[in-house]
């Protein structure tokens, strides 16, 4: 082992931190922090959309203040979702081949189609239908370049008669209805990418897509709740406590399902104890101990669950509840990010020979480094800010005028 380590160090590769035996081609990790970001971001998209659909399809009126914000959040993150993949590819210029010559047996080849379907047929369409009246009114009231932008956004459809708006409403409802399974498809597919790799026992599980969907809902709902509270605070408006109470309740219940599924997976692995168990168990107790046990399970799952449980059973003053929601929302986000990290990075730390372990050392300023990852995490928030400026998700003066038939 010593000779190998020495050689690899001489080669200038990331070769320290190998324990036991790795197949020689396995020592460097193939998928970096950018591939951690990818399921994290698509999860936020799917989760935010599911929250929006609560109001639209399931008529949960209490979450209405977040409906439009959730849709815009989903769109902002969806626009960024392919970037980490693109940056990770050895030949990003060849990625259109996935659209033109997809390989029928490859789960990954579905990405382009699932993504485009979700972006164009679901999110953009639903947002456009919901905002059409506002866009038309804004195209009439604004001036200069902005007027032109709104004019283009109407796509030539400026009829806002009650009958026309009623049609928008019905079509929007159908789009949301189609959108729910599409959101499940978008993120379930991401889980399938990992779950279908039989060579990797850390990933290979039929539960993976289901766990990904529920963890997506947790992160997406938590994100929209936090963004709603932050934006409302910035606008110096009162937070609709009934709305955040309802969101927190849904967050709690979905979190329980997510945690149960993850524990089921864990218990199944421990009890079955197949040939990979010794290796994976060692990894969880050493290299993954902090990110898996401490951050994901204790800090990112059990703590927010306990906090949310308290808010459900104890009658607490409003300001205490708000703080607990913010804390548990932030912790849930950290926990879900850690879950993605542990899946993607954890799945590459052990050898497929089950005889050794390697180490992931994140670079800082490379194409797949932590700075790029940080930038990609923040970028959707800037896009969201631009969307909110262009299409205010709350009742504007114009919308109020329209509502009163002025």
């Amino acid at each position: 082992m010593c000779n190998l380590a020495m050689f690899l160090l001489e080669q200038g590769k990331i070769m320290s931190g190998v324990e036991g035996f790795m197949y020689p081609n396995e020592i460097g990790l193939q998928w970096s922090v950018l591939i951690v970001l990818y399921p994290f971001i698509t999860g936020l998209v799917a989760g935010a959309f599911i929250l929006a659909s609560l109001e639209r399809v399931f008529r949960v009126e209490a979450v209405k203040p977040t409906y439009r914000l959730a849709l815009l959040t989903a769109l902002s993150f969806l626009i960024v979702a392919p970037l980490p993949l693109q940056l990770h590819l050895g030949h990003p210029e060849r990625s259109p081949e996935m659209y033109f010559t997809p390989h029928s047996t490859s789960a990954m080849a579905m990405f382009g189609y699932v993504y485009l379907w979700y972006l164009m047929a679901v999110l953009v369409l639903e947002i456009w239908l919901d905002y059409r009246q506002d866009i038309v009114l804004l195209s009439r009231s604004s001036k200069g370049l902005l007027r032109l932008i709104y004019k283009v956004m109407t796509l030539g459809s400026d009829n806002i008669s009650p009958r026309s708006l009623h049609i928008d409403e019905r079509v929007g409802w159908i789009v949301t209805l189609i959108g729910i399974p599409s959101a499940f498809l978008l993120h379930g597919y991401v889980g399938f990418i990992f779950g279908s790799i039989k060579a990797n026992p850390w990933w290979s599980s039929p539960l993976m897509p289901v766990v990904f969907i529920f963890s997506a809902m947790v992160s997406g709902i938590a994100a929209v709740m936090l963004i709603y509270m932050a934006v409302t605070k910035l606008r110096k408006q009162p937070i609709d406590i009934r709305c955040v109470d309802t969101i927190a309740m849904y967050l709690f219940y979905i979190f329980i399902i997510d945690f149960s599924l993850e524990m089921l997976d864990l218990i199944h692995r421990v009890y079955e104890a197949d040939e990979s168990f010794r290796s994976l168990n060692f990894m969880v107790h050493t290299k993954l101990y902090f990110s898996h046990i401490v951050v994901q399970i204790l800090l990112g799952t059990v703590t927010p669950l306990v906090l949310l449980f308290i808010t459900q059973v104890v009658k607490l003053p409003e300001h205490v509840r708000k703080r607990m929601y913010v804390t548990s929302g932030c912790l849930a986000m950290v926990g879900i990010f850690a879950m993605r990290w542990n899946v993607v990075i954890g799945g590459q730390l052990f050898s497929k020979s089950f005889l050794g372990y390697t180490t992931y050392k994140m670079a800082l300023v490379t194409r797949e480094g932590s700075l790029v990852a940080l930038g990609l995490t923040i970028l959707p928030l800037f896009i969201l800010w631009a969307f909110v400026k262009l299409l205010p998700p709350w009742d504007t003066e114009t919308a109020r005028q329209a509502a009163t038939g002025d």
């Binding site: 050895g90 030949h91 990418i193 497929k352």
Partner: protein, 243 residues
Amino acid sequence: MNLSRRHFLVLMPAAAIAWKAVLAGTPEQAENYKLSDHWWGMLIDVPKCIGCGNCVRACAAENDVPDGYFRTWVERYHVSDEDMTNPEVISPDGGKEGFPVAKEDAKKYFFVPKMCNHCSDSPCTQVCPVGATFVTPDGVVLIDPKYCLGCAYCVQACPYGCRYIHPEKKVADKCTLCYHRITKGLTTACCESCPTGARQLVDLKNPKDPIHEFLKTHSVQILKPQMATGAKAFYNGLDGSVR
């Protein structure tokens, strides 16, 4: 021929695809080489391997394999009889320069050459999003480097650790079973350089190939049979501890 605009629009994409296939061409091969007449594999006779590393060096030289990556490598196992599930394994520099002298003890030592198993149901081929990696009609798993995206999904999907992303070309790379040689009637570089005949190229469709007699008379195993990959690297005398 009277070609309407509708027919023209239907035929254009088909013609474009056909033209792309023509441009892609066919791999270089001997004039009388028929793809359908062969089904290639490899026989690895574990007791014959002496761990000299000739095969690793020959492969690297023949195929311009970058330093630190391996199309083939040799592992040395050191197994105690009471704990065969936990062997000590080393492969310094893929065994390219041989192995350090083993300490004498009660445990057994043996060498295991590894390479792409050219699986007939290969998971790497299944997962490639653009079909850049494929099984040829004569049973060799190849990669089209002009088409590969470098997504590394195939590297993740290979149960044997045979693939890597080429550090300069940024595409997936692996053993080609010296396709440029075997289609011209030659054997692979690793087989040619093996001093003990531990590695032998086999053609399962050739009735005269001694592999048929060998498979009949020996207990031959493939690596990780539970993966059901249809591996075609056949190991004679494979110890149960080998992963």
